[in-house]
């Protein structure tokens, strides 16, 4: 019951979030010295006042800002995010097209980050202060320190261009046809279609961008797992477990790890949020047709409906992920009470 109430509260917050985010972009859009009209009409049409008026009327720009905003929120309530000035398509359709690519990559890299990060963190904590520990800590620090755009460049240069062992940019090899879209996640769609080679190709294409994108989160998870495990190992109930005669391995697996994972879950949430932020850079390098590139283009074109759309999407995503993290928290830690 507490949980449901909590979820309801978070969803209630979402409403404010969406309003807040859209308001911020609206305010920015009003304070912009340049005019999206000029940015999106051809040179010839700019000189034609009739065209400009028509354009403004079409996008509601002839009305005062607050009216525009109310119109926007009104549409939003009906699930209409407006139409992108740049692509002239409903923003919602655009997001539907771009988001799955981003999500596929994000999920892949978060899996890599979690698996390796936790494994490294556990080894590092168990072998505290050993050479192994130092090595892993070094790697994790490298992971959080390496600029993703540069790492992407280096990976492509080395593994694609130089050694030719990794696939190039894009979601699948250029000569392949994308699978019939069901979930819009290529790997899964290809598997659903029973096309193994395509699934493999799509997965293979996820590797480099996934590694690049996940490196930061992996470092973060390694670090947190290590320190959290070390901290838990110094707690009283570990002493109790020892007094019961449990082996070190049992103590770590049964008593320490479960408790140590609790803060790691938070970090995974943060990491997932970071992934979406880092997308812009990685997608640029890997020609990944995702939300990051869309946002980049939208920002450059002052395409405010699109910017708001992306912002809302990512904000909602952030809240949802945090909500999932909180729920997971409750599963991992019976002490958690939602309020």
């Amino acid at each position: 019951m507490g949980l449901l109430k909590y979820i309801a509260r978070r969803l209630f917050f979402l409403v404010f979030l969406v309003i807040g985010v859209s308001l911020v972009v609206f305010v920015i859009s009003h304070s912009v010295p340049s005019d999206p009209v000029l940015a999106n009409l051809s040179q010839r049409n700019i000189d034609n006042p009739e065209m400009v008026e028509a354009f403004k009327a079409k996008w509601g720009m002839d009305k005062p800002l607050y009216t525009q905003y109310f119109i926007y929120v009104g549409n939003l309530v009906q699930g209409d995010l407006g139409t992108s000035i740049r692509t002239q398509r409903p923003v919602l359709d655009d997001l539907k097209d771009y988001f799955p690519a981003t999500i596929e990559l994000a999920i892949f890299s978060i899996i890599i980050a979690i698996v390796f990060g936790m494994l490294f963190g556990i080894i590092s904590a168990i072998k505290r202060n050993s050479a192994m520990d130092q090595l892993i800590r070094g790697i994790s620090v490298l992971g959080v320190s390496v600029p993703s755009f540069w790492l992407g460049l280096m990976f492509l240069l080395l593994f694609y261009v130089h050694f030719g062992i990794a696939p190039g940019p894009g979601r699948i090899s250029p000569y392949l046809k994308p699978p019939v879209e069901v979930t819009h996640l290529y790997v899964i769609d290809a598997l659903l279609a029973g096309n193994w080679s395509l699934a493999r190709d799509a997965l293979w294409h996820l590797l480099l961008p996934g590694l690049v994108l996940g490196s930061f989160t992996m470092g973060l998870i390694t670090r947190t797992t290590r320190s959290s495990l070390l901290e838990v190992m110094s707690l009283d109930f570990i002493r109790t477990a020892r007094a019961k005669g449990l082996t070190e391995k049992m103590i770590i697996m049964r008593h320490a790890l479960g408790n140590a994972l609790i803060p790691v879950v938070t970090v995974i949430g943060i990491g997932f949020g970071n992934l979406l932020g880092g997308m812009v850079l990685v997608e640029t390098i890997f020609a990944w047709p995702g939300i990051g590139q869309y946002a980049y283009k939208a920002a450059g074109n002052l395409d405010f409906p699109a910017i708001i759309g992306v912002s809302i999407l990512i904000s909602i995503n952030y809240v949802v992920i945090n909500l999932l993290v909180d729920i997971l928290y409750g599963i991992l830690d019976p002490r958690v009470r939602y309020h």
Binding site: I28, V141, P147, S148, F149, W150, L157, A295, A299
Partner: protein, 275 residues
């Protein structure tokens, strides 16, 4: 204390050495660069690394080595400015929210959460696109993205310290809110925020270079590392153009993170406790 930690901690020592090196380079940059970071030489563009140009030359024949060295100044300044400004804003905001508590706190924290939920890099891009890319606008965007972290830490510290008995002691002596906040709570709360800020330095440099990679930093010919990597992507097969500035970002971030990581271990009393 520094030496004592250094003696026992290999990674920390590396961090200190790397960072000091970069600080020295940044301070002395104009004296030690072999060429002017602006000098163009179209006859010698795209030169591979050699004894003349250690890191090669770029698309208009500038010495990449000199530009990388000069670039350290911008990165250091950007990193410092961001964390200082963001931590000041965050500390004030979080301090107030935590001290007042109740509904005001709830509202203030929801607002900061909203900022955190807002995709930072998109906000930065929008600001840069709207106001034009420049160092100041980029810093502004970074501070806007960054302050809620500090606000959160500060708030939780203030809330924790507010419950301390020495605060009650001051209250029972009749101290004003102002005095309690500035004299009792603040000095005991800033520590973790400052630690967080130190740890964040590397992240700030990374974010800044990412933004300048997207062309949102200061305009050319400023030798910004991120922009130089972007130049390297444009001139793909001349690997040195992008590789060295990227390595510079990496080493600086690694250095600060080594320090931060070890510092965290050292300052965390739960890990430090020996009994």
């Amino acid at each position: 204390m520094l030496l004592r930690i250094m003696k026992n901690n290999f990674l920390f020592s590396i961090g200190i050495i790397v960072c000091s090196l970069w600080i020295v380079i940044a301070l002395m940059a104009p004296l030690i660069t072999p060429y002017s970071y602006l000098a163009q030489d179209l006859a010698h563009r795209f030169q591979a690394p050699s004894s003349l140009h250690w890191f090669g030359t770029d698309s208009i024949g500038r010495d990449v080595f000199s530009r990388v060295l000069m670039g350290s100044r911008i990165s250091l300044i950007a990193g410092l400015a961001t964390i200082i400004l963001a931590s000041i804003v965050g500390m004030i905001y979080g301090g107030i929210a935590g001290y007042i508590g109740g509904l005001a706190d709830e509202i203030m924290m929801r607002i900061s959460e909203m900022v955190m939920a807002f995709p930072g890099i998109i906000l930065a891009m929008t600001i840069a696109a709207a106001l034009g890319p420049s160092l100041y606008n980029t810093l502004l965007a970074m501070v806007i993205i960054w302050w809620p972290n500090y606000a959160r830490v500060m708030r939780s510290m203030v809330i924790a310290n507010k419950e301390n008995e020495y605060v009650e002691a001051a209250k029972s002596l009749g101290a004003s809110h102002f005095r309690i906040f500035f004299n009792e709570i603040l000095p005991n709360s800033v520590g973790p925020v400052l630690v967080l800020a130190t740890l964040d330095f590397g992240n700030a440099i990374l974010l800044f270079s990412g933004l300048s990679f997207l062309g949102l930093g200061s305009p050319p010919p400023t030798p910004e590392w991120g922009a130089m990597v972007a130049d390297g992507v444009l001139n793909f097969n001349y690997w040195w153009i992008g590789t060295f500035p990227g390595l510079a970002i990496l080493t600086m971030a690694v250095g600060t993170n080594f320090i931060g990581d070890s510092l965290r271990d050292f300052l965390d009393p739960r890990l430090r406790k020996e009994l």
